[in-house]
Structures are given as C-alpha cells and as structure tokens.
Amino acid sequence: MHLTSPEALKRLKSQLVRQRKENKSVITVCAGTGCVACGCAAVSAAFREALKENHLEEKVEIKTTGCHGFCERGPLVVMRPEGIFYQRVKPADAKQIVEKTIKQGKVIEKLLYRDPQTKQLLTYEKDIPFYNKQERLIFGMNGHMDPTSIQDYITLGGYQALGRVLVSVHPDEVIEEVKKSGLRGRGGGGFSTGRKWASCRQAEGEPKYIICNADEGDPGAFMDRSLLEGNPHAVVEGMIIGAYAIGSHDGYVYVRNEYPLAVKNLNIALAAAREYGLLGADILGSGFSFDITVSRGGGAFVCGESTALMASLEGKIGEPRAKYIHTVECGLWEKPSTLNNVETWANVPTIIEKGADWYRKIGTENSKGTKVFALTGKVNNTGLVEVPMGIPLREIIFDIGGGILDGRAFKAVQTGGPSGGCLPESALNLPVDFDTLTEAGSMMGSGGLIVMDDRTCMVDVAKYFIHFLLEESCGKCVPCREGLRQLHEMLEEISRGEGGVGTLDGIERLCSVMEQGSLCALGRSAPNPVMSTLRYFRDEYLAHLEAHRCPAGVCKALINYSVIEENCTGCVVCKRACPAEAITGEKNQVHKINSEICTRCGICLAVCKFDAILVE
C-alpha cells in the first residue's frame, strides 16, 4: 500500500478503526525484552494452542505488544477490553485463562497482582498503583499495539500529526509549536528542543542531518530500548516531523547493537513506513523527502555523548570533541545536525497532535511534559514508569514503587545514571524536574532511578559508579582518564579504612579539576557520584576514615561476621553453606566464625533463619 496524500492516510485510519471489532476479546501478551527473558514467547504459543483447542482462533485475538513497564511481574498478560491483569503467567496457565476467563468470564485469583502495601488482590490493570499514578503520554500505546504492525499504530492515530504538518503547517510554525511546548531534551542535557531545531534550521550548510540517539548506556535504564521495541513508529514519526521542520533529508538512528529486538522492530517499522509512503521520496505526496538509516553502535558508553556518537557514525573512534561550535552548526560530517534522544523524538507527534498549549499543562514551570524513569533497586515494584514532571520523588518510590523491599528503611536514591548523584531522604519531597535535581547535586540524566536501603554503603556506591565510569571513559582527555583512575584509587583506600581525613580534601580538589577541566559532559559530571555522596553522607566517609568502620556493613576490609550466641540454634545451615569453611560448631551447639578464614561473602547471613549472624 502506498499512500499518496494525508487524506488517503485519514481514510485508511477510519477504515482500520471500522474493521476493528470493539468488543472482540484480545489477549495482550507483553513481549518487551524483560518479558521475553521471562519466557513470554512460550506463553503466547500456549495461548495459540489453547485457542485452537477451544476453536476460538477467529473470535479471540492474541497481540504480542511492546513493554508495559511492570517488568518485575512479567510475563504480563492483559485481557482486553476488560483490562484484567495477570502477572507472572506461565505457559501452563494459558489453558486455564482461555477456559475460565474467556469462556466463562471468571477471574483467576492466583494470577492476580497483590498490592504489597494493602495486601489486596487487584483485578484490573487500571487499579494497580504502579499504573494508575502514572501519566503515560509516550508509553501509553505500548500495551495496545503490536510494534511490528504499522496498521496498529495508524489505528491508534499514528502518523496523523505528520500528515497534517506536511500539508498545512510551515516548518517555522512547527518549530514555534515545539518551542512553545517547552519540550526539553530527554537524553540528559535538558536543552530546549525547539531552540535546537531553530538554530539548526538557520545554520548555513547543506545537507542537514537528523539523528536519533538510541545509545542508551546507563546501567539499569531501558526506556529508550522499550520505546524502540514497543513503539518504533512514534520515534520515526517524530524524526520525520523534525526533518521537515529543519529541512533535512537524511536521518540516522544510532542504536546499540546490544538491543537486537529494538533494531529488528525499528527496521520493520522503517520498511513499513517506506511501503506506506511515509518515508522516502515524496512523503504522502507532499514533495518532501526524508529517509532514515539505522546505524548500530558497539556499546561504548561514551558514544551516547552527541559528538562521540557523530564521530562513531562517521566511522571514527567514538571520542567527543569540543562543542565551542555547536553541532547544530557543525555536527555530523561537519554539517548542521540535530541530535535528540529517543524519548524526545517520541514526544514530538503528541505535541503536534494535541498542541503545545495542551502539552504545557503537564509538568512544572520550566520542565514540561512527562518523563519515563527506570525504577530499580530496593523497591517493591521495579520497571518503567512515566510520570508528569514535578512529581515528588517520594510518590515515585513509595506509591508507584510500592516502598522499600522487605520493609527496610530508605537511605538514598541515585538519579541520572552513573554520572548522576545520590539524594537522601530529605530530598524526597523535591519535585522531579531538570533544574531541581541539578540544584540538589544530582541530575535528571536519561532517567535512571536506583533506590537504596539502609544496608547500602554510600562509599561503596560511589566506588561502584566511579568504577563504571573508569571503564567507560574514552580516555581522550587527562582530567577524566587520569582523574577517574585516581578517584577510584582514593575510594578504594577509604573502603579499606586507609588514608587520613585529608583524603577528602584531596578528593574534593580532584573533583573540581575534573569538573572544570574535562572535555565533555561525561567527564565534567563524572565526579557527581562522589560529590553528592560527600555532600549528603559525609559522616559515612568519616566513619570509614576515622573509626575504620563501615556503618552499612558492606566494605569487606572493615567488617566482621560473628554469631549472636543467644540466637544461634546450632542448625548447621550456615556451616554447610560457608564456601570458605570458616564456620565451626556441632549440631545444636552455638557456632563460631573464624574471622581469619572468613571472606565476608555474606552467605551465612543470607541463609540464617534465626537472625544469628552479626555484621559489624
């Protein structure tokens, strides 16, 4: 099918909507990467089999969709139109679901979700706190469509914004609308998208390039992946609108090769868009031409930095270059280039479709719209959450996230990826937006949220992130490369209880050199994990340095494992589990840990059922 005008697109949409039977039962099986890992393919196959056995293939549709976000509970199955939500579904459950829920309309209790706070069983997706506190502007379509079907996207209103723009909106007006919407770059920089587009449009030089940054590298963050896997057309449509506004005819998506499903679904989407006349020459008969090339990255964290990404696209070593001359003027192949993150591009069709005024109503004064966060760590509900800007961190962690795992105490939340910072309890009421997080010493980054409980050592956390950055620094500039080496060395010393109080002054001096001296934003923000933990958890550093103690009981050189005699029942479980054979004691007698042999692996603590292991 080749659409030659926006009217043809509209007609196709109405036709598809008519064809879609409103009350037809649909079993949606989440097929995001998380659920694929949990075995959702076998679940879909089991449903197909069960429908066949019951001769329901014609009446019930199975839809494998993109990520729903609640990865913690996968594989997820949602029965539509009712919206019954089943979690951790196994292939063996398929038969029962078809026979009970589909044929008899009965809910299967053992597959329902139990709220960890209220202990209540919840039947419908809309009642689950994880979902109902979210505002799913960008992510909403994921659970309703097959990402490999362009028809699904069109049915849900996709490409209509593009159609309208191409015939009736001048490029300058598109840019004005995006400017007015207040959209800011979701990749971490937070620069005004509209202003970026305007500078690129005005920049001299041809051709101009459009680039989508899908080189998501933050540990634990996977929103861009889920968007590309679950709704690639939204990103593609955003890019075409951007290209029209800027006057570009060549686009690139730079995506990590570690995201095979994203690459696959994106390529399917691009091929379909070309077939439908939405991409390529003379889009929808408007005379405007634009095409997109997919370029796969080798998985270097630094290639998420715009200039390093462009160098990599050019076939060079992925190293950043100075941005004194902006990439909107001199970017890819030294031509004007507009680079935006996946999530930013995915916002564009919605803004055009619903208008900047509507969009501006969501969010805070200077941060508009929603943001997708990857919520992980010691929270009950982990997964992807999309919330309006300005929501307090507390709501994300305790309402959507369902609180801290095992009922322990909250200690800190790490935002913004490896070069973000750790915020303490006192920051929990801060509204989440670009500027507030930066002021608090962290950053929005690409949207990682790692929750930590009281058993987390902040020196150890800082060391972990510095080690990550140490391995991922490109090594081009001295402050980042050599600074991270030394910073890691200093943190190692602290976690061994070595070094004096002067170590902290040394760290602060070094951090300042790195912040001011590094070439790219990654180097300049690399000290953040240390600076923010020093700012909020200085006492913990001092405990290591002065008292040679690790209060959280993590740093191995500073802790000892012992048996609390009153609690020990002599059950020998720990003795058997100890890989170092450091535990002695006969059955029914109090055990002992030989601290010289003990490797502080923590297995005894994990297996003891009587709270008889003490770490101090």
Binding site: L470, K476, C477, V478, Q486, E489
Partner: protein
Amino acid sequence: MQLTIDKRSVVARKGEYLLEVAQRNGIEIPALCHHPAVEPWGGCRLCMVEITHPDWKGWTGLVTACLYPVQDGLIVSTDTKKVHQVRAGVLDLLLARCPGSSLIQNLARQYGIEETSFTPRKAPDLCILCGLCIRICEKIGASAISSIGRGVEKLVSVPYETVATAACVGCLSCANICPTGAIAFSESEHCRTIWSRNFELVRCEECKAVIGTPEQLEHFARRSGLDRSYFTKCDSCRNREAAARFVRVTF
C-alpha cells in the same frame, strides 16, 4: 577583529583559535597535545584559559585555547587562579601517569609541583596519550597507528598490538613529534626498527649516508607527485653536484 589577551589588545582573523593568536603575539600558553601541523584536539587540557566578554554580564568560562574560536571583544586571561588550579591539577595527574618524563616534571615544577600528590602508575611508560603521533601519521597519509582500547587501558599501537602493517613507512614522524620521547625506535647499519617492524635503509648514491627507508621514499614521492628519482641522494652531495653544474654553465 580585536580581542584582549592578558590586558593586551591583539588582532585576529575569523576562524583562528585563541592559542595561535596568543602564540603569534608572544603570549605563552602551555600545551602538550597541540602542534600546528595537525588539527587541534583538546585532549591534554593544559591550554585552559579563562574568558569573558563585555556582553556576558560578568559570566566567565574556562576553555581550551587550542579549540576556542576567536571572537570580537573577547577578554582572555591566561593566568588566573582558576586556570592555575586546573593546569596544576592536570600536571599533577600527568606526573602520576608518567613520573619519569622530564618534560612533565619541568612543567609541573613551574606550577609548584615537585612530586605528584596522587598514586603513581604501576609500571609507567612515557606516553601521555596526547595523540600527536596518531594525528601526524594520519596527516602524512599513512594512518599506521591508532589508539587502542579506552580510558585508563588506552594505548597507542599498531593494529592488534603486534607488528606495524604495510601502512607504516618507517618515517619516524611519530617518534619525532612525540613530546616525551615515548616511541622507541632504533637504527643500525642496515636496519631501522620501529613498531616492531624492521625496515631496510636507503643510502645516498654518492656518500652512502642514510636517507630513509624504501617505503618512506616511495610514499613521499607518491604523495608529493615528484618522480622517485628526486629521492636518491643526500642534500650535501646534491649541493656539491649542483655547484659544479652551475660553474659549468656559467663559465
């Protein structure tokens, strides 16, 4: 256009960078990864200067002079407290990386650092990863060496860290441009060795002085468009021959 560097008014052309303008005016800014023969790179971070502008409402910034394009009215200070701090920090770090480099030792001393305050690298070499060797090799058209790996593991080498491929012409440009003398090479009677590869030596047809490797002379003849016969004798022998020829044609 006109700008001010250390309270001196200097003239610059559009498209120039701060460092070249400063150098032209005899204003010293230290730099390790800069060389006029190759494109500026911005890796060593030593040429940091502080800039401001009458229109910037008091805002000042630290930038690398080698890459910052000149701008009319710009006010540049090359020796502020901030500049000093960053340069000293960078040199302190470099001294921990290459404690044996006399170049780094001397520079560090100028910034009051006798000994690094950091932990010196175990088994240090002299390479500061300024990338000059890689860029000059690319500039002469060989591209035989590159950086390998990233971050603290990064090093300069030939593909797969083995022996230089046929791309290397044995011209020694990399070793000659290296500011710390980190690239080893040797030359004996018949053989030049660099990047673990042995090169034959071509000698002057008259006096037998070494004039290069066959690959090097071939490469430079090709890239300059000159006939290979231009590259057969040393300058002294050529000079004497030419003098005799002049005399023949003038008397």
